[in-house]
Structure formats: C-alpha cells, structure tokens
C-alpha cells in the first residue's frame, strides 16, 4: 500500500563535514518520484560525499539542515534502516567480503528486506529462479555467485553485481556513485540497459558522475553541476553536453 509522494527526496540547507572539514555547504535538492537526476562535478568537488551522507556513512557529520526521504527524517536513521526504507547506494568501489559466497550474501540481504516487510524468508528454489533470471539480464554467469562477494571480481563484474543487488532489493531511490568508472564500453552498455529497465516512472535515481558518457545511456530529467560544496547550476540534459564540451570552469 503505497501512498502518493510529492517528493521522494528533499534535501534542505544541508551542511556536512568529514573529519572536521566542511565538504557540503547549504545544499538544496528535490527529487520527485520517477525522476532521474544527475549530479556532475569535477574530481574532489565533494559530489560523492552527498551519496555517502545520504546512505549514512559513519564520520559523515550532518552539521545543519535536514533530509526527508519518503516523508521520513532520513538523517535520524541508521544506515540499515535507510536501506530497508528503500534507499540504495551503488558504490564506486564495491567492498570485498572474503569467505562469504555471493549467493548466500544476496539471499541474506534479500531476506533482511523481506523480513522488514513482514514476509517469510525466501524459499531456496524460488531464490535460485529469481537469481537466474536477474543474472541473465546482466550477462552475469551463475558461476559468479559461488565466488566470494566482490573478491577477485573485475571492475565490470563488481559494478554488475551492484546493479544486480539494486534489482533484487527493489529500492525506491537509487543513488549511483560513479558507476561508470572502470567500465569498458560493453559493460557500460549492458549495465545501463539493466538500470534503464528499473526506470518504471515511480523509482527515482540520483546519478553521480564526472563524465557525460553514462548519461548518454541513462538519460536524466535534470542535471546539476556541483562545485564548492553546493549546486551551482541546474538544467536539463543539454547542460550535461555543454559541460562535456566546455569543462567545469566556474563562470
């Protein structure tokens, strides 16, 4: 039973510091249901800090402002509660979990979400069916699931595994942090196609990237340019092309 939301995410006057250094300064951003927003910015501008702050990474200190996610106070919640509420962060550098097989990990995170919805743990046969189907969409061989989570995975395999997890967990808001980095053209294409399949008009996206190329595959509704801890310019997708031509020179 989902009620209609005016805003999926609303960031108001947000200040964030990391290790006593202020990175985000008075950030404001609204993302409606079904919208795809892109944040572009030069390296070191702090755009990944937005992603980590929204996901609740420890040491990312919210000094001022607030964030509403599905009409709830996001900042007051633990990272896992944010996940269970429907926020998904695709990591730029997915973390390795030695000794934990990918299949059992995927099943465990899926069951954590099912449990929070009051559902029973998934039946082993049903899980295998879902896993096969979703892996096929991403050209992931089933063999990958008997390896340890992200351990020894290539850059492309890691990113595909992130997209597989977002598909599995069915989040309301997907934040992608430099998902295009480390992907060759083929991997970028198949990953983008899988992401595009998740665009259903209700789910929202926040795509953080340095380059235009990802946005050529996943077309954003809104593009924001990030500089000096805040959004300095917003526009439609043509802004992304301009940035690509002219660079990030601050006017």
């Amino acid at each position: 039973m989902k009620e209609a939301l005016d805003n999926m995410l609303e960031i108001k006057n947000l200040d964030v510091s990391v290790e006593d250094k202020q990175i985000i300064k008075n950030l404001n951003l609204k993302i409606g249901p079904g919208e795809v927003h892109a944040i572009m910015g030069p390296n070191g501008s702090g755009k990944s800090t937005i992603a980590h702050t929204l996901a609740g990474k420890p040491n990312y200190l919210v000094e001022a402002g607030n964030v509403d996610f599905k009409n709830e106070d996001l900042i007051a919640k633990d990272p896992y509660e944010r996940s269970l509420l429907g926020l998904f962060l695709a990591f730029q550098y997915p973390i390795e979990l030695p000794g934990v097989t990918n299949a059992s990990y995927l099943k465990q995170i899926l069951n954590a979400h099912r449990k929070s919805r009051g559902e029973n743990p998934i039946d082993a046969g049903e899980f295998l069916k879902i896993l096969k189907e979703k892996s096929r969409n991403l050209n992931i061989p089933m063999e990958m699931h008997s390896r340890f989570v992200n351990a020894g995975f290539s850059g492309g395999e890691k990113k595909k595994n992130e997209v597989l997890q977002m598909d599995l967990l069915d989040p309301s808001l997907i934040i992608m942090d430099e998902t295009d980095s480390g992907l060759d053209v083929d991997a970028l294409k198949s990953t983008s196609e899988a992401v595009n399949k998740l665009r259903d008009g209700k789910r929202s996206f926040l795509i953080i990237t340095h380059y235009l190329r990802l946005l050529e595959y996943i077309e954003p509704d809104h593009v924001h340019v990030f500089g000096d801890g805040s959004i300095i310019e917003s526009g439609d997708k043509s802004l992304a092309s301009r940035i690509d031509n002219e660079g990030y020179e601050v006017k």
Partner: protein, 480 residues
Amino acid sequence: MNKINKDNFKQDAYKYGFVTEIEDEKIPKGLNEEVIKLISSKKNEPKWMLEWRLAAYERLKSMEVPKWARANIADIDFQDLYYYSSPKDFKEKPKSLEEVDPKLLETYEKLGIPLKEQEALAGVAVDAVFDSVSVATTFKEKLNEIGVIFSPISEAIQKHPDLVKKYIGSVIPVTDHFYATLNSAVFSDGSFVYIPKNVKCPMELSTYFRINASETGQFERTLIIADEGSYVSYLEGCTAPMRDENQLHAANVELVALDNAEIKYSTVQNWYPGDEEGKGGIYNFVTKRGLCKGKNSKISWTQIETGSAITWKYPSCILRGDNSTGEFYSVAITNNHQQADTGTKMIHLGKNTKSRIVSKGISAGKSSNTYRGLVNFHRKAENSKNFTQCDSLLVGSSCKANTIPLTENNSNTSSLEHEATTSKISDDQLFYCMQRGLDAEEAQSLIVNGFCKEVLQQLPMEFAVEAQKLVSISLEGSVG
C-alpha cells in the same frame, strides 16, 4: 547448595548458564591417595587401573604446574577442589533411558541434545557426561551390531580391559606434563570408541560434557581407536553454568589410527566464558593428541573454541606411519576478558607424511588470543610436507592477537609453507553490508563467518549451522 547470584549476570548471550537442581554426591575435597581410591572404587575399577592411577599420582607429587601460557591464570588450590561429583544415588548407570532421572533428560533437552533416540538427530549417537559420570549413551546396541564399541570409558575399563590397557597412556604418557598426569590420576568419565577393521562407522559419534556441580573439576578421559581400514567421525560439545568461581576442566583425549584408518575429531567448545568483567568461567586446560600409528592413516582435528575464561590446548598429531596425514582446523574466538593460547603440534616421523594447519583467531573486547604451533620434521621423515595458515581478526582496538609458530626441520627433503595475516573488520565492510539492509550485528556476523568459513565447513553438516550461530552469539555486544 550452590552460591549463585543470578542477578549479577547481565549477559544473556550465554544461554546454557542454568543449573540443574539435582542432589549431588561428592567425595571429600582434596587430592590424595584416598580420593583416588574412592574414585576408582566408585567406578568399580579393576586393580590394574587403580595402580595406574596411583603411579600417576606418585609422579604428580614431583611435578610443577606449567606457567608458560600467554594467559593470566589465578593460582589453583588443588586441595580445595572436588574431584568427583555425581547425581545422588547414581550407583549404576541406568540400563535404559526410561530409568534416567527426568531432570537429567530435561537438562540435555534444554541444551538442545534430546537423548530419546526417536527424537534424536538422525545419524548421531550421543554419550552424555554429567559432572563425573556418563548418564546416558544412545544407539549403543545398534552400533554394537557392527562391532563398534561406543561407551563411557568407565564401562570400557570393565568390559574391554585389554583394549583400554593396550592404548590408554600410549599417546599421552602418564608422565607427560602436570595436567595430563593429574588427569591420569583422577579422571572420571569420558568416552571410549573402538571401530573394528574395515568398518566405516555409519553415524556421527558425539559426547556432550556438562559441568553442573560447583567447586568441582571435570577430568574427562577419552580414548578412540580406529582399527585398520576403518573410519569414524566424532564430535564433542561442552557447556557449564554461570558462576563467579573459575572451574577446572582438565581433559586427556587420545586417538589412535592404525593402517589406512581415519579419525575425524570435532570440538564445539562453549564452556561458560565468565562475565563481562572477567569474573568466573571455565579453565579449559586440555591435552589432546592423536597418533597416526599405521601407514596411510589420517587424523583430523577441527575445533570451534568460543567459551571458557582460559583455553589452553594444542590438539596434536604424531605422524608415525609412512604416508600418514594430520590436519588441524581451528576457530578460536575470545571476547570480553577471555584468554586463549591454542594451536597444534605436528610431529612428522614417517616418510611422505603431510600436515595441514588452518587457524583462525578472532579477538574482541579486552581479550587475548594466541596461536602457538610446532611443526617438527624428524630426520627420517623424508619428503614430508606441512602447510600452515594463521589468520587473526581483530574486532575493536582493546584486544590482542599473537602468533607463535615454531618449526624444527631435520629432514632436508621436507618442506614447510607458512602464511599469516592479521586484519581488522573494516568499517567499509560493515557499512557496505548495512547499506544493503543488515544491522550492525548481522553485518559483523556475516563477515566473521566468512573469515571462519574454511574451518566451519570441516564440521559435520549436522553441526555446521549451530556452529555458525555460536560464532555470531560469541561476539554479541562487541560491535561499536
């Protein structure tokens, strides 16, 4: 009566800490010849056994308590202990489960070990040892049909004296060291297993040790003999009530594998670890040694050590037979103020002998966790090989991990490989798992179980799931 103040224990993680209200019968405190004679007569032992015990006691008088463990051990007053405690009126072991005191059955039920065979885990036979006596052994008759002897050692001493006489003390000499000698003098119960030639034991054999009485030491003695071409998988589990005092468990376990025989011995040790402040808990000072006596024989130790205030043990293999193999897989977890100094010895005597050591130490809280190991190649142990891997995982910043691997190579055709790592559970790993919906404890448990996986998967399937849960529970409260 037991002086237990239950309110003192905030820890609810240790769910085996209850006391069975059963009247017990102890022999007087203290260590002397009279006590040893009393133990022997309680067990209706033949004369040779008593003499063997008394010889051990004679030897003990001139021995000193070893002090070299990397652990702070409070002085133990050996005269202030009870060496034997059994449920009252326990003159003879009940012939069938119907005769067993319901309170005892209930105790094991609460511990998750149903003794009624029709309710028991399929394919697992259990010997239940309560303080100093075995109170029940399941599937005995069924095993007997194929010649497998699975009984309390006190019964084996009476019924199979030749086998016991031949092998007891043959792997751990009576004179080995203080605690082994002490055990030889005062041992009470434990299990005896004999697998005849070419028999593959069709079920898991297991012994469940329970300490219930206070101020009492438990001196388990276990002897397993695998005759030529046979196979057995054996598992022991242990728990004890929560008490303010430290209690001593000093066991001797001897394994003998003859030609082409294989013994797989697994331990899930969950003695009471003491409270969060380090008060109470079991002193687990155990001597475990296996002899690969025959050619192509194999002994494999797997231990999951999560309990005890202090764990001090080195399950070892003497690889005497040519082409014999020794293995040691260990997970040792210490939390709060627990201390562990554990590892193994692989003594290569025969040609083409192989050994493999995989040790995973996890320290949390203010605990201390030491791996100590010895790999020795005798000059005649041609073409022998050892592989050792020691990994330590630190949870938090107040705990300690040490690795002390010793090697002695007197054979120039033999080779050793050693790998060691020390790591911390990284904040990035925790955050990654939490971002996917796992809470902090679930995330930590996932990562730690991954770290231990190589060892956990050595356990018999029936116990692997339980062990995984135990690993998680042992670290409860250490996140943060």
